[in-house]
């Protein structure tokens, strides 16, 4: 073997080794979003850090309050404010839901206000999190004798996009 051939063989071995390491790391990467975790005691549920936990609980609280509140008088602004907190498929889902309530909320002078009465962490990595939120949603309008209150249970899924936590899924349970 010439020296060049030896170098080529050595490089080939290194390439194979590096490919193996890469493959192994790929299997170890954060892919918990596929686990569909709903409970903090489920296998795979973890806590990245106390700081991440505090952050995502706060974001879920604010997001649920804003997304579940709107008034017929300020519908466009309320929708824009809510959309600012969302990412990906959540935007389409929200637009579809709101399209269904626009007409009736105008004609019935609907005012819907949400109050978050509890937040709890299900799972959080540094880029993906799920929070259980209890929301009291009060609906008032011309067609209602007295305001109606719904006691909701919502699973809020968030992703960190460019440093900001945004809502990627909302599941009313």
């Amino acid at each position: 073997m010439t020296l060049q051939q030896r170098i080529a063989s050595l490089l080939a071995v290194l390439v194979l080794a590096a490919a193996a390491v890469c493959g192994w790391l790929w299997t170890q990467r954060d892919d918990t979003s596929g686990l569909d975790l709903t409970s903090a005691e489920a296998e795979g549920a973890s806590v990245a850090s106390a700081e991440v936990k505090d952050t995502v609980l706060g974001v879920a609280d604010e997001a649920a309050t804003r997304i579940y509140s709107y008034s017929w008088k300020s519908l466009a602004d309320d929708k824009a404010a809510a959309r600012d907190l969302m990412t990906g498929g959540m935007l389409d889902q929200y637009d579809r839901t709101m399209a269904g309530v626009v007409t009736s909320s105008r004609s019935n002078h609907r005012v819907v206000s949400a109050e978050v009465v509890g937040t709890a962490l299900v799972h959080a990595t540094t880029s993906y999190a799920r929070v259980l939120v209890f929301v009291n949603q009060t609906t008032d309008g011309k067609d209602l004798k007295s305001p109606e209150v719904d006691l909701d249970r919502v699973l809020v899924t968030m992703r960190r996009v460019g440093g900001d936590w945004l809502v990627s899924e909302l599941d009313a349970l």
């Binding site: 060049q4 390439v15 954060d30 973890s46 806590v47 990245a48 799920r130």
Partner: protein
């Protein structure tokens, strides 16, 4: 293989190696390692809260001794006292109406958690039958459990329905 071919091969392998090394660096820095201690603590308290919530929502008029004992086994303090003081009435009522209730935890999360106390929220459903229901009825609950550490186990000291 000619000298020129080998040099091309060395070039190609070098490029591939550089690419793979860059990939390794990227993957190593993006691997998410959870806080193991916090994760373990969250698992422990969540498991205890889940089992207590299920015990609390379970009723079977045929085995009320077991039903009540399961709740008391995971309880302490005020919650234990309250449940104990109401258990006679619960047993009587369940037996009279031939009640059953099967609980299911829909979602569960941990709010506050420190070394010896924790607050857990549970979204749960129960399927209820008794002499006044023709079909089984599903009920929806929002529970808040406060737990305290007792040795190496977590016990529920307060349980309330979140309004």
């Amino acid at each position: 293989m000619g000298g020129r071919g080998t040099i091309w091969l060395i070039g190609a392998l070098s490029v591939a190696l550089a690419g793979l090394l860059a990939g390794i660096v990227f993957l190593v820095t993006s691997v998410d390692s959870p806080d193991e201690e916090l994760t373990a603590a969250q698992h422990d308290v969540a498991a205890a809260a889940r089992s207590e919530a299920l015990a609390f929502l379970t009723v079977d008029h045929r085995t009320m001794d077991v039903v009540v004992q399961r709740v008391l086994d995971g309880a302490t303090g005020d919650f234990k006292e309250q449940y104990e003081s109401q258990s006679k009435r619960l047993v009587k009522e369940a037996t009279r109406t031939q009640a059953t209730s099967a609980g299911e935890v829909v979602a569960l999360g941990v709010s506050d958690l420190d070394d010896d106390s924790a607050t857990v929220l549970v979204a749960a459903n129960s399927t209820v039958t008794n002499t006044s229901t023709e079909e089984p009825q599903v009920r929806y609950y929002r529970l808040e459990l406060e737990l305290v550490r007792d040795g190496n186990q977590w016990l529920t000291s307060r349980l309330r329905f979140v309004r």
